[in-house]
Subunit: 101 residues, 2 copies
DNA sequence: GTAAGTTACTCTGAAAAACAGAGTGTGTCA
DNA sequence: TGACACACTCTGTTTTTCAGAGTAACTTAC
């Protein structure tokens, strides 16, 4: 019934670190830079790059704490678009890996 | 019972084109360069690069036709190591994406 | 109260990966 | 025999990934 779509795995999400990052936020809702760093076991620079990639795709939103007494802290969460893309990515994966998962 | 392993998605397999290539060979058994090119909709150079990557990891074997009357033709199939890596990749994916797939 | 350390990033540069298109050799067919 | 297709391979460019150094704000230890 379909089989028409080209079956392409979203390059933004289908990458080792970003897949885990997105999956983590899907269940977790939100996380700080440090939490993500711990969860993913990546270096600061690397995490920064992946976050930037997700932000550029509008899959992720960064929310700085507006509280002045705090050191700047950013909370990251998936946007609606990001969640949609993730769900879509899962569907594509299921088709690509058919049966097997 | 586990949760100890670092949960890393095999970088050789977790890439848009290679995931599809490996999945295709898992069901299909084997394929020629041209068949893969059609299936994946990639350029020659790009396919070549991905094949090389899979070969370098010993996930893929290239078998040239020994028949002299034929134009050289290569048949690609996954090695035992490649199949194992793929199964393992699927397990990791399931853990990363938990429940969801 | 200030030096030392920690947290929370950001920036830079290097290394690796992904990709397109041109190139090569062999065969087919009008 | 000349034009074209097939089956790759090679080269060079762009993009991505990554580590580590840098910056700024806060927070103890002395």
């Amino acid at each position: 019934m379909d089989a028409l779509s080209p079956i392409e795995l979203d390059a933004v999400l289908h990458q080792p670190i970003r897949t885990r990052l997105a999956a983590f936020l899907m269940t977790r809702g939100e996380a700080t830079f440090t939490e993500l760093k711990k969860e993913l076991s990546v270096t600061d620079g690397n995490l920064d790059a992946h976050i930037k990639k997700l932000l550029a795709a509008n899959y992720l939103r960064a929310q700085k704490t507006e509280d002045k007494t705090q050191r700047t802290q950013t909370i990251y969460k998936l946007t609606a678009k990001g969640k949609g893309a993730f769900e879509n990515y899962l569907e594509t994966l299921k088709r690509v890996l058919s049966i097997r998962l």
